[in-house]
Amino acid sequence: MDAAIVGLGITDVGRVYGRSAPDFAADAVRRAVADAGLTLGDVDGLLVSSGTTRDVDVSLQRRLGLRDLRLLSEMQAFGATAGAMLAHAATAVTHGLADVVACVFADAPRRAGESSGAAYAGRRRYALTGAPALRTVAGGNPTVQYALAARRHMQTYGTTSEQLGAVAVAQRRWAALNPLAEMRRPLTLDEHQASRWIAEPLHLLDCCLVSNGGAAVVVTRGDRAADLARPPVHVLGLGQGHPGYPARCGSDFGLTTGAARSGADALRMAGVRTGDVDVVELYDCYTYTVVVTLEDYGFCAKGEGGPFVAAGHTAPGGSLPVNTGGGQLSGYYLWGMTPLTEAVMQARGDAGERQVPKRDVVMVSGNGGILDHHSTVILSPHRREARR
């Protein structure tokens, strides 16, 4: 594997209206290509990923006027897609299937004058037939299923709502330092605890934002990266984990996720240990996923994720900076592109006030479905010689 991220493009993000997801996607690719010091004519690979609006597809090639592509696909592993796209792009450039691959995600679920909850409610497809209908009449939906997962973790390991709140508070402190973040006002644990229930044990402030926008990265081979406009961010390690939880006794649902396998594989490929990791960008659709992913990656023992965050380790000034842009909770919600974009900024040393001092190894997660899909990427400003 010898690949690097050489371009980063983030559109206006958040409550940005009047633009479709394909509009954001095209904008993000243009920005990422320009950031790399390249032109659209240099791009010979395009990987696209759509969110809830499901309208970003391979037709983005025509919209961008890209000719004679050697690699083109729409990919979907939900929140794990950004890592999956990066893995596909990195493999492609390493083996010469393409030279310059743009990977893009965009979504536009929010409408002016509507709450973030309404953004999803209007698009939800309800299973009303056969076995999947049982979850519908049980009162399930994605947030409720995460609440069930979080409750199981709390019942098994003693994780508390205050510990989940510590995730939200720590990330808001990071967001205050990030001009790209939507929620920058300081947040207290009391405010977290007083926020309304969405699905108990999850408060409103345990849940991520809903954002319109797009983000893209440009990937090329590691040995070519140094000649481009910006400092390259090399891909050292990759992993995925898709547990396929059986709905039966013995299931680890809520306790251990695909991060355990995915993280171990990525660390092994990168030739590093958790102790070597300087900064961590985790998929935080809910506070709980930060806690369980820290455990599954091995930054603390199983069941210790809540106390680890509550002790302040992940906050600004802590021993393990986590979600340094505010994450999806306080920054912006672009699925797996939220942690990946922040990781690139940190690895480049571009993160301004929130820049961590040591940035040799950056670990990034993606989490999709109801903990069904996980991807891990390990990035570094330093290139490793291609390994057999």
Binding site: L128, G130, G139, E200, C249, G254
Partner: protein, 130 residues
């Protein structure tokens, strides 16, 4: 009391399950090869599956209190509990949970059935003690 939530219907694969639910009986897929019991959505095991009667006794795995209606037809029903329960045969089932006790993981749950005015009958959980 009217049953909250949208009306649902069987498909070809689950017709026996919902027909049995209408007569207050819980059927689960069971493998005729290894004799393992499965959740209602499972269609593959080492041998052919057949529908078999469950004891309808379970314990609580996890639960949540739903405060934001997950479907418009639940708008008047929030807040209510939803739960994943583990049947004594092994499979998990997600059900609305009734009962006044404060739940904990491992609490006993009996499967009962909702018979809505419109649509198929389906299982619900009744918490039977802490």
């Amino acid at each position: 009391m009217t049953t909250p939530g949208p009306p649902i219907e069987a498909d070809a694969a689950t017709a026996p399950f919902f027909t049995a639910a209408a007569r207050d009986e819980l059927l689960l897929p069971r493998c005729t090869g290894c004799r393992e019991w499965h959740a209602p959505d499972v269609t593959t095991c080492c041998g052919p599956l057949e529908w078999a009667a469950s004891t309808a006794r379970a314990t609580l795995v996890t639960w949540a209190v739903v405060h934001t209606a997950p479907h418009p037809d639940f708008a008047d029903a929030v807040a209510f509990r939803t739960a994943i329960v583990e049947l004594v045969e092994g499979p998990w089932l997600q059900v609305r949970l009734t009962g006044t006790d404060e739940p904990v993981a491992g609490s006993p749950v009996r499967i009962a059935f909702a018979h809505p005015a419109e649509g198929a009958s389906y299982p619900i959980g009744v918490l039977e003690g802490p």
